[in-house]
């Protein structure tokens, strides 16, 4: 009987250890995280709609029904990435996520010059290079320094009512996510 009690106690102790280990490993091994879902839907440097409007199930969960959103994956090891979207919409906001879906940086249209979305994501090392001589075409861009390699860029845009749907759709369709030569 004492032996059984001993076994159960040992088992519970083990359960505690397993609990902690599994909890720490879930983010490492998840195949359902945002990166993996996006990877199934499209390539690197390709803007992909996250909402269900573009057909099919939504790629990533918890998008406000009054919002349209698009995302692209990038790899800063290949170079800095420039994201642009033309047009005027009632509200847009963007976020930079790392590989495991942590929000690193976000801003909205009030932070941008003239409300135009033009931004460059780069590593601190690339930032030093760019600062030395800022190219003319990057003058108006917002620079986001992120100490990462792989990451996700998300644009969200507000659709106040049905009449805005085509405008906001077009805003996201025309957005680009490109490797910037420097």
């Amino acid at each position: 009987m004492r032996k059984l009690l001993h076994t159960v106690l040992l088992g519970l102790l083990g359960a505690g250890i397993v609990h902690i280990v599994v909890l720490m490993l879930v983010p490492e091994f998840s195949e359902r995280d945002a990166w993996s879902r996006l990877a199934m839907a499209s390539d690197l440097y390709k803007m992909t709609r996250l909402d269900a409007e573009a057909g099919g199930a939504p790629v990533v969960k918890s998008v406000d029904p009054l919002f349209y959103a698009a995302a692209c994956r990038f790899d800063l090891a290949e170079g800095m990435v420039r994201i642009k979207a033309p047009g005027n919409v009632p509200f847009w906001s963007v976020s930079v996520y790392d590989r495991s879906g942590h929000n690193l940086y976000s801003f909205n249209d009030h932070s941008a010059t003239g409300g135009v979305l033009d931004t460059v994501v780069l590593t601190p090392a690339q930032m030093i290079d760019v600062r030395r001589e800022l190219p003319e075409e990057l003058q108006g861009a917002i620079f986001v320094e992120a100490p990462i390699e792989e990451g996700i860029f998300v644009i969200r845009s507000f659709v106040p009512d049905d009449s805005w749907k085509p405008v906001v759709s077009q805003f996201l369709e025309q957005s680009s996510c490109e490797l910037q030569d420097y």
Partner: protein, 194 residues
């Protein structure tokens, strides 16, 4: 000999089963560490950031969430009314009160997976602050139910559990200091179609 092997197996089974099961359970529960409660509304300002606790991090990885950033907005979720009962799709509710400062807010009725409730009609089960009618004191009264109502009407349909998701965009309350003296609207049950 056989008894020893059995005891070893038993303790291993408890360790692996109990450990794995408890993680699964902890990740399924809506309530969690790092939650901020204001009335019936719950928010997770830390979710999806580097500063989040390990449970939130695991949940983010498992569900593929891309959480709103601080400069974007902050979401609150309600699962109970002011009387403490779970929100149900077959019931009618009144959401009334003042809303904190934000550029705008959206409110929608959600199902278990926090996607918008499917109404089978062109009208979405969602409202936003530019389209609502306000009281003289700037507070808002919203009627929730499947019958059209005068004033502000949030359509819901069907049966089962329901959640309200209230998101404030471009708001000072998303910074941690702004959350201390925020009041959010009350959710009062008006009646049910039993």
């Amino acid at each position: 000999m056989l008894k020893n092997a059995f005891l070893t197996l038993l303790s291993l089974a408890i360790a692996i089963g109990g450990g794995g099961g408890s993680v699964w359970y902890a990740l399924k529960a809506q309530d969690g560490v790092g939650a901020i409660r204001i009335g019936q509304w719950t928010a997770f300002p830390e979710i999806g950031t580097q500063a989040a606790d390990p449970y939130s991090k695991a949940r983010v990885a498992r569900e593929g969430v891309l959480a709103l950033g601080r400069a974007e907005g902050l979401s609150f979720i309600a699962e109970r009314d002011a009387g403490g009962d779970q929100l149900r799709r077959e019931c009618a509710y009144m959401i009334e009160g003042r809303f904190p400062t934000a550029r705008f807010w959206t409110l929608y009725a959600a199902d278990q997976s926090l996607g918008v409730v499917d109404t089978d009609r062109p009208r979405l089960a969602a409202l936003q602050s530019y389209q609502v009618l306000r009281q003289p004191d700037n507070s808002v009264i919203i009627t929730v139910g499947n019958r059209p109502a005068p004033g502000n009407w949030l359509l819901t349909e069907g049966f089962g559990r329901m959640y309200f998701v209230l998101t404030f965009y471009d708001t000072p309350i998303a910074s941690s200091t702004g959350l201390s003296d925020v009041t959010l609207p009350r959710i009062v049950k008006a009646g049910c179609n039993a």
